[in-house]
């Protein structure tokens, strides 16, 4: 009886330890993810003048965003995700004297994943609600979420993306610090979090010890595409930047539609190249 009892206690130990000891010898390869920006096909840099409409040139001074939940999917509707990055802060505010850095873009840290064939990449623009509930004080020094530059306490939300700059509405060649010429988008709050599944033209094949590079390129001009007549008086498919050039905090404010639209445009503005 004693023996049996002992066995009773010891047996599970064996089972547990044997589970531990039986590591699936995983065959892995590396995936690098890189993000960069363009403006209507041209390399994007801050301080560079770009054509917005035939009447208005724009110049940006800051452009950055949080990305989250980046993962690989084996097939389109797969619920199994291979995580590449949980959260990262991507700053693409390279000035015209940093053209090389702008061309190189921002590298997320390289991730080891099981080798195999993947057919889709999932990416979140902004932060999902569970992360957005936290605040900078919750994170250690150096963490992407520890910065006070991208937290808006009165909305209890991180600023998912900042797009700042100027539009030369009166065409006088000067980007003025004025109500209508400043562009001040600080996009945030749970409502505007955007997730997208991107399909590469060819499946992503991660070979043993091989390295695959996934390059995501965001067209900043496409972020301003809007079809609502209120916000596109000229009906050229682009936000009427003369009159709508800053974020709303109140999600019930009709103008919040602009914030919502810009964030959801990240989906269509982002192209995946291998």
């Amino acid at each position: 009886m004693r023996k049996l009892l002992i066995l009773f206690f010891i047996a599970p130990l064996f089972v547990v330890s044997s589970c531990d000891k039986e590591p699936e010898i995983e065959i892995v390869g590396n995936v690098e993810v890189n993000l960069k920006a363009n403006y209507d096909g041209e390399q994007f840099m801050t301080q560079q003048e770009y054509v917005y409409t035939s009447a208005i040139n724009v110049k940006f001074t800051e452009f950055n965003l949080y990305v989250s939940n980046i993962s690989l999917l084996e097939f389109e509707n797969s619920t199994e995700e291979t995580e590449l990055a949980e959260v990262d802060f991507v700053n693409l505010s390279f000035t015209t004297d940093q053209a090389t850095e702008a061309a190189a873009g921002y590298d997320l840290s390289t991730k080891k994943v099981p080798s195999g064939t993947y057919r889709a990449v999932k990416i979140g623009f902004g932060l999902p609600a569970d992360i957005n509930r936290t605040s900078p004080g919750d994170y250690g020094n150096g963490n992407a979420l520890a910065t006070s530059t991208h937290y808006w306490a009165s909305a209890n939300s991180y600023v998912f993306s900042k797009i700042e700059g100027f539009s030369d509405n009166n065409g006088n060649g000067i980007f003025e610090a004025s109500e209508d010429e400043g562009i001040r988008f600080h996009l945030g709050q749970d409502e505007v979090y955007t997730e997208r599944i991107l399909f590469p033209s060819e499946p992503i094949v991660v070979e043993e010890d091989g390295t695959v590079n996934l390059s995501l390129n965001i067209d900043v001009k496409k972020l301003f595409e809007i079809s609502d007549i209120t916000y596109d008086a000229n009906q050229d498919g682009l936000l009427d930047i003369e009159n709508y050039s800053s974020s709303r905090e109140d999600t019930d404010d009709p103008g919040f539609l602009v914030d919502r639209t810009i964030m959801s445009n990240y989906s269509s503005a982002t192209k995946l190249n291998q």
């Binding site: 801050t46 301080q47 001074t61 000035t95 004297d97 605040s135 900078p136 004080g137 994170y139 250690g140 020094n141 150096g142 520890a146 910065t147 006070s148 530059t149 937290y151 808006w152 306490a153 009165s154 700042e164 700059g165 100027f166 000067i174 003025e176 610090a177 004025s178 109500e179 010429e181 400043g182 562009i183 001040r184 600080h186 905090e249 109140d250 404010d253």
Partner: protein
Amino acid sequence: MIRNLLVSTLLIFIIAAGCKEVSSFQEPLDLSQIAYHPNPVPIKVPKGFPQLPLVNKNPQTEEGIALGRKLFHDPILSADSTMSCASCHFAHLAMTDGKALSKGIDQKEGLRSAMSLVNVAFYNEGFFWDGRVKSLEEQALLPVEDSIELHNSWDQLVDKLRTHPEYPVYFRKAFGIDSVAQIDKYMAANAMAQFEKTLISANSRYDQIERGEEEYTPDEKAGYEIFFDDSKELPDGECGHCHNVPLMTTNEFLNNGITYAEKASDFPDLGRGGFTGSQFDNGKFRVPSLRNIALTAPYMHDGRFKTLEEVVDHYASGGHYSPSVSPLIKPLNLDETQKRQLIAFLNTLTDLKFVQETQQSEVY
């Protein structure tokens, strides 16, 4: 052969004598009998404040802080023994000097206004208005030799510290050195940095209200809402984008439109650009914290505004054009009541308890 030997013996003597001269100090006084029991004093991070780096190369101890506090306030630091750090960083002015531009021992005016040292433990984007210095330890080395500040030399100062009746014991207790000859400028700077990191202010009326202990008056509340763009009825002041919680600064380098400049090269003080060399940074300065702002007049890097009324008038007007001005600067459409309300909110950022405690611990 014998001649050779003689010459080399002589040479050795000369070298040895030379060596002795180099270490100018006569008798390396032994300190090893004095007790060395440093008491660690970790920095208490107020709730909601940024966490500090896990690795601290200059850990705080009671003894290190005591030495740093003594040095910070001691005119021994200046060439003519008239000024110390505390001559430009007064506790009752929230660690500023009340002057537009600071003056050093030779009565020469510097180019910039003294900065508040409140909550410096939490800054990591570079110190000074242009962010040119990486750490407090590095910073504390500079004023001593700056010709428009203490205009001393570290060699002289270190000699004075080594022969001083009190300092050797302080250094021993703080850093465990065995002889006075080991006292050097880096230890002195580390100690001052340890002291500066104790200057934590998180008990203003604003903080008490945030903690639910107090409530805003209607004016303060309206001011808060203007500051943080938090009301549909009131104009957006946009202040919080740059002077964000909890430190009331994001520590970014930005241009808040106080200087007109047609071209990037026109700024009288290039600010950040003078350090980075990028024309796009010309005219940008580190966003200062607004904690205790009512105590730190005059305002801006060159002290150009005497009062908070002048500051608010500046922002309300939309400021001046320059190539690096931030898009967040624009005319604000504030009426006189709203300006007053904004200032009422700024006044809630004063932490008198911090001031009193710091004043009480001042040593002269």
